[in-house]
């Protein structure tokens, strides 16, 4: 925008944002979810088996960002230093050395087989809040890392699928006629391919990495958005401001993306939270079926899968189910608020 905004001149979008902020349930859910998600990027500092700072013989070490073999601290064994043991050792020997561990000192991919008695999975204790899974990995750590991965995955897939869907829908709606006719038929054929089976087939042939899964999911997720965008473009292009843009000599791309698209955002924004929900659920179900992200990536679906194999390990079912339930509920609240904020009706039920 070239002209500076005056305080009393409010764009439609600003009005809607203000309305959304008035919707307490949705707005607070939004704040909670966004802060949790941002916080989860600090996971390596909060939930990790590597110490944040080690003081050893007058020197400072920062193991979070650097690898130190165990010999650095004159520790027994091979490979990386065992910081939890180091912490214990330093506390006992009063040598003036110390270790600052993260708040929750377990790594999601680390097997705790030697440290806990009994056969995995271990039930929750005060040390391991949600117990361990069948490879003796800490469930709480895996849950939190899985949260970050699920949300990132869903956001990226939604964004890519939206870009594809919006572009194709815009082209169909704007040009109409034959382009629309053939485009629609192609989309109908494409949409009839069973998505889940395609993902399963592809991931059984190729080793599914994060980005491969993102690509596959995006390729199959854009179809729904084209219908809405196409409809919006049909509606908007008949309005005179589009004719005015043509008569000014604007080219098609400028008309489509500068003039029409900002007026066609309603379905995009109102569907986004629900698309997120769908993508999180899909990732969980793929992981559950074993066709999702490659092991040992922490994932909710994989934990459920372990829990299903023996119902006595209730923490393996309840924790991922509870986590996904809470996440999806928060996003639903956000979606509900956003939808309400975009509703042209002034009075709202959600206050």
């Amino acid at each position: 925008m070239i002209f500076k905004k005056r305080t009393n001149s409010e764009s439609i979008l600003h009005k809607r944002i203000r309305k959304f902020k008035g919707m307490k349930r949705g707005y607070y859910s939004f704040i909670i979810l966004v802060s949790l998600y941002l916080l989860s990027f600090l996971n390596p500092l909060l939930i990790n088996n590597k110490a944040l700072v080690v003081k050893y013989n007058g020197e400072y070490f920062f193991p979070v960002s650097k690898y130190y073999p165990s010999t650095t601290f004159d520790q027994q064994g091979y490979g990386e230093a065992q910081y939890r043991k180091l912490d214990e050792q330093f506390e006992n020997d009063n040598s003036g050395n110390w270790v600052i561990m993260p708040v929750y000192p377990f790594h999601p991919n680390e097997s705790l087989l030697g440290e806990i008695d009994g056969e995995p999975p271990h039930a929750p204790t005060s040390l391991h809040w949600l117990g361990t899974d069948n490879r003796a990995r800490d469930v709480f750590a895996r849950m939190i890392y899985g949260f970050n991965i699920s949300i990132s995955f869903a956001l990226i897939v939604t964004a890519i699928a939206y870009i594809i869907g919006i572009t194709i829908g815009a082209i169909l709606g704007f040009f109409g006629g034959r382009v629309d006719m053939f485009g629609q038929r192609f989309i109908e054929i494409f949409a009839s391919i069973p998505f889940l089976y395609m993902v399963i087939i592809i991931s059984s042939v190729l080793q599914p990495s994060f980005w491969l899964l993102v690509t596959i999911m995006s390729c199959f997720n854009w179809v729904g958005m084209t219908y809405y965008i196409r409809g919006e473009f049909y509606k908007e292009k008949a309005k005179d401001y589009v004719s005015a843009a043509i008569s000014m000599g604007a080219d098609n791309r400028r008309i489509m993306f500068k003039h029409i698209l900002p007026n066609a955002l309603t379905p995009i924004i109102t569907f986004a939270p629900f698309a997120l929900i769908g993508n999180i659920s899909t990732l969980v179900s793929l992981d559950f079926l074993g066709f999702g992200l490659a092991a040992p990536t922490p994932s909710w679906g994989e934990i459920v899968n372990q829990g299903i194999s023996d119902i006595r390990y209730w923490w393996l079912i309840l924790s991922p189910m509870g986590a996904s339930f809470t996440t999806l509920l928060l996003i639903s609240f956000i979606g509900e608020g956003v939808r309400e904020a975009f509703d042209p009706k002034v009075h709202s039920r959600l206050r």
Binding site: I2, R6, F175, A238, D240, A244, P262
Partner: protein, 341 residues
């Protein structure tokens, strides 16, 4: 007018094909504009009147070539010549890119001020857009020009930082006029620019348009269905009926001395404020409705409702003929009196 015309429209046809059946074959077409010709001279206002559905708005939209957007199958034929440094360029034969070079010469004011401004853009950005597209001015110069334009149309420069929904209908129409003026056009097509406004606002907007026309020496094609508005603003008037031009002539001449039976009946329906004059006037009431442009009557389009219709009217489409003083009528029986009921 002795000068060379700015715009020459020759035999313009606009047909919207209708497709039907399983294979979407072409069944028939709507002949929205069916061969009309007219000239527009520099600095004059040509009023185009006619009832709803006679194709007057379609003519305007065909001239600036925006029909294909909502009707990709539309068929436009004929010639639209725009004068450019003494040469005439057929706009219909140009590609869209070539056409864009001539866009600044020809701008349009739209009927509905509520949909003709993009609701997501600031008023200043709306008016500035034609400058972005057609000039190399610096940002500062563009902003100055926008402020100047806003003042020209009776708004203030500070209002450029507002959104269209903060304005009334009349103000929005002024913004539309400012946008049309931004490229310094020679011809403005005004498609019913005042029919969506209150009567008091109509007068303001029309007077503004007339002032601006004098100031910038604009030619204006003024499309409207309100006869008194058209009489007020136009130098010449074209009367359209069912996609054809029924009568073209000087405004005074057409109003005082209408020739075509349709024009005569149309003008007899204009409300008169003086009851004495009103009672003296012969009121011509036409029978029936306008035929559908899907099934136009053969020959003269008006013959189904014309009190003067003869069997010969069904044969040939009447052409505009000169009846003197640059007054053209498309009816060979225009001198006959109407039968008194």
């Amino acid at each position: 007018m002795s000068k060379a015309p700015l715009l020459k429209v020759r035999n313009l046809h606009v047909h919207f094909p209708i497709f039907g059946g399983i294979f979407q074959r072409r069944v028939t077409e709507v002949k929205a504009v069916d061969g009309i010709s007219f000239d527009v001279y520099p600095g004059e206002t040509l009023g185009i009147v006619g009832e709803s559905g006679c194709g007057k708005s379609t003519v305007g939209k065909a001239l600036i070539n925006v029909l294909r957007l909502t009707a990709p199958d539309v068929e436009i034929s004929g010639e639209v010549f725009l004068e450019d440094n003494g040469e005439y360029i057929d706009l219909l034969s140009l590609s869209r890119k070539e056409m864009n070079k001539h866009r600044p010469d020809m701008q349009m004011i739209f009927q509905d001020p509520f949909s003709s401004l993009n609701p997501r853009m600031l008023v200043g950005d709306i008016i500035q857009e034609p400058l972005d597209l057609h000039t190399n001015l610096s940002q500062k110069e563009k902003r100055e020009k926008v402020a100047w334009l806003l003042e020209k149309v009776g708004l203030s420069a500070e209002q450029s930082t507002r959104y269209p929904h903060e304005f009334s209908g009349g103000q929005r129409q002024r913004i539309g006029i400012a946008r049309a003026l931004a490229t310094e056009p020679r011809l403005i097509i005004a498609d019913e620019p005042v029919s969506a406004l209150d009567v008091s606002i109509q007068a303001q907007v029309i007077n503004l348009m007339m002032d601006l026309q004098d100031e910038f020496n604009l030619s204006l094609i003024f499309i409207a269905h309100d006869l008194s508005v058209v009489e007020h603003i136009s130098n010449r008037i074209g009367v359209m009926y069912l996609g054809n031009m029924a009568e073209v002539g000087d405004a005074d001449d057409v109003y005082r001395n209408p020739k075509h039976p349709y024009t005569r009946s149309l003008l007899s329906a204009v409300p008169l404020p003086d009851p004495k004059l009103k009672n003296k006037r012969q009121r011509i009431v036409l029978k029936g409705d306008v035929p559908s442009p899907l099934a136009k009557p053969s020959g003269c389009g008006f013959r189904t409702r014309c009190p003067l219709a003869k069997s010969a009217c069904a044969k040939d489409i009447p052409q505009l003929e000169d009846v003197g003083q640059a007054h053209f009528v498309a009816c060979q029986y225009h001198e006959e009196e109407f039968p008194v009921e």
